[in-house]
């Protein structure tokens, strides 16, 4: 790893560790909030698993299967350590955040929520942390409440307070908004929920786990879901972390192989944690890949990760704000992770994204899977640039050049 080449400014210079970026010098990837690029160590870990340990875990008596099982379990332990989970059996592997949240909604939700109960989400939540709860409410007859936001895109804590009462069974919110980058005050929210209700607290960690230190055991929440592919890991692996007592009480989410203990003709008993929630052949290779990703992040240090992103975001904010007609959404940069959501005059974000593509700049344009938020911002879409460890000032230069190109094409500056 080549972390410290630019140590004087404290900036990370790890682009060379990412083959896709290293092979495309003209590419400026600013869409890591959607998915991150993958470092060589992760790609090597995947290949190494398939070349040296590939067999079906938990199945065979032969030593290769035992090795696959060990790799899978070691990956769980390593990722649990990274996310501050002492009891690694409480980390259930899933396909990603979406599946983790659906698991809680289906399993805990259907068993514990009934007519007259209430479920609270926020207007900034990603559809993955909004729709599962909306559907749960419709199925059970519970009331679905949406906590409002402040004008600058933070959770309105007064609105949250007003939504909480003795009937609240679930409060779900995102640690960090994917569309705006808002870092939500998790501790304050948890205190408020605990004071006013007996609700469980479910946190969407898709945008926090990749970017700053997270220690589940000290967060005081009940469930935390995350995605591996946003934190340098492979696609198709992520996790749900929960409290042991609750996970043990909950019915299975899916049924099948691996998650059973004894299958009788008329009934079945369940395996212990974490297997109870991992039906079918586990995604062992990707778990190993994700373990390599967190090892890589740990070697950098999560404090440096957020420091690097924030420094880039501040620079980008300053330079973009100076552009006439450009509007940045969300709270001040100090309250955001490395996300910059913006619009410019009447240039539609899709046109902006296409023109930026011509400069090699990849940004997201659209509703960011947060239509309730877009309605409140009263825009159909925004353009979003998001930063990660491999980005640098050159990426910001290209972003600014592309935006100016769009201004030229749309006639905001003399050609």
């Amino acid at each position: 790893m080549n972390l410290y080449r630019n140590a004087r400014s404290g900036e990370l210079t790890v682009r060379a560790d990412f083959p896709l970026l290293a092979n495309n010098p003209g590419l400026h990837y600013l869409d890591s909030a959607a998915t991150s690029q993958k470092p060589t160590v992760v790609l090597d870990a995947l290949r190494d698993f398939y070349e040296t340990a590939n067999a079906n875990p938990h199945r065979g008596a032969y030593s290769l299967s035992v090795r696959a099982t060990e790799c899978y379990h070691q990956a769980r332990t390593r990722i649990a350590q990274f996310l501050g989970v002492a009891d690694s059996d409480c980390l259930i592997f899933t396909r990603g955040t979406t599946e983790g949240l659906n698991l809680v909604a289906s399993s805990w939700g259907l068993a514990n929520v009934g007519s007259g109960d209430e479920i609270v989400v926020t207007a900034m939540d990603h559809h993955a942390n909004f729709v599962p709860w909306q559907v749960l409410a419709m199925r059970t007859g519970a009331r679905f409440r949406v906590c409002e936001l402040t004008g600058d895109g933070r959770i309105d804590l007064d609105s949250l307070r007003a939504a909480l009462n003795a009937k609240t069974r679930i409060v779900a919110f995102s640690h960090v908004s994917n569309a705006l980058g808002t870092i939500n005050p998790l501790g304050e929210i948890v205190r408020m929920v605990r004071e006013r209700s007996d609700a469980i607290v479910v946190c969407d960690g898709a945008q926090s786990a990749p970017h700053f230190p997270v220690s589940f055991d000290s967060l005081g929440i009940d469930f935390y879901a995350f995605s591996g592919h946003k934190m340098l890991g492979p696609m198709g692996i992520g996790g749900l972390i929960g409290r042991r007592a609750m996970l043990e009480e909950m019915p299975p989410y899916q049924t099948g192989g691996d998650m059973i203990e004894f299958v009788h003709d008329d009934r079945t008993t369940w395996n212990v944690l974490p297997h109870k929630f991992e039906a079918g052949t586990p995604n062992a290779a990707n778990a190993v890949g994700l373990a390599a990703a967190v090892e890589y992040l740990d070697n950098i240090g999560m404090d440096r990760v957020i420091g690097h992103e924030r420094s880039l975001m501040l620079q980008a904010q300053e330079r973009l704000s100076a552009i006439d007609g450009l509007h940045v959404y969300g709270p001040p940069p100090a309250e955001r992770s490395g996300v910059l959501s913006f619009t410019m005059n009447d240039v539609h974000p899709h046109d902006l994204a296409t023109i930026l593509d011509g400069e090699g700049v990849c940004i997201r344009a659209g509703h960011h899977c947060a239509q309730p938020l877009m309605r409140r911002l009263d825009v159909p879409a925004t353009a979003r640039a998001s930063f990660y460890i491999y980005n640098n000032e050159g990426d910001i230069d290209a972003l600014v050049t592309g935006i100016n190109k769009a201004r030229e094409i749309f006639g905001y500056v003399p050609a």
Binding site: G26, D351, G358, E359, G360, H367, P380, A381, I409
Partner: protein, 149 residues
């Protein structure tokens, strides 16, 4: 695939004709006494269009659109309404097919004089992610025509 895309392709996409229709859309508004009316949204990008048609026998006597979206979707809607006014359903059927060919990158469609100013959208074919923008108004048209049958 070459990364990134060349900026020449971008210039070919954003022709002056498209920007002109985006800035000054023709036939934008609401039609009184419409015979067919369709609202359509592209859930992927949030673009939306409302299209209203008024028939005179077999012909489109008048049509208007409203909505919001990117330059490609708005220009396509504007140019479409301009071209289709006064056309018979048979003529419209042929134009629809030709416009879809243009979006698929069929070379002969670029020379099709019946498409008129819509040929300015030929560059869209090289941007698969944007073809759906150009087709939004045409999908609304198809639904409106089917509803009016």
């Amino acid at each position: 695939m070459s990364l990134p895309r060349s900026s020449a392709e971008i210039s070919a996409l954003y022709q002056e004709m498209i920007l002109d229709h985006y800035r000054r859309p023709r036939n934008k508004g609401v039609l009184e006494n419409a015979d067919a009316s369709v609202e359509m949204k592209n859930p992927l990008c949030g673009d939306e269009i409302a299209l209203q048609l008024q028939f005179d026998g077999n012909e489109i006597k008048d049509l208007k659109f409203s909505g919001r979206g990117c330059s490609i979707s708005q220009a396509s809607a504007s140019m479409m309404t301009q071209l289709l006014k006064g056309k018979s359903k048979e003529e419209i059927g042929a134009i629809r097919t030709q416009f879809r060919d243009l979006m698929l990158g069929v070379p002969s469609a670029e020379d099709e004089s019946r498409l008129g100013s819509l040929r300015a959208l030929s560059g869209v074919a090289r941007f698969p992610a944007r073809v759906k923008c150009a087709l939004l108004a045409w999908n609304a048209l198809e639904t409106a025509l089917a509803d009016s049958e």
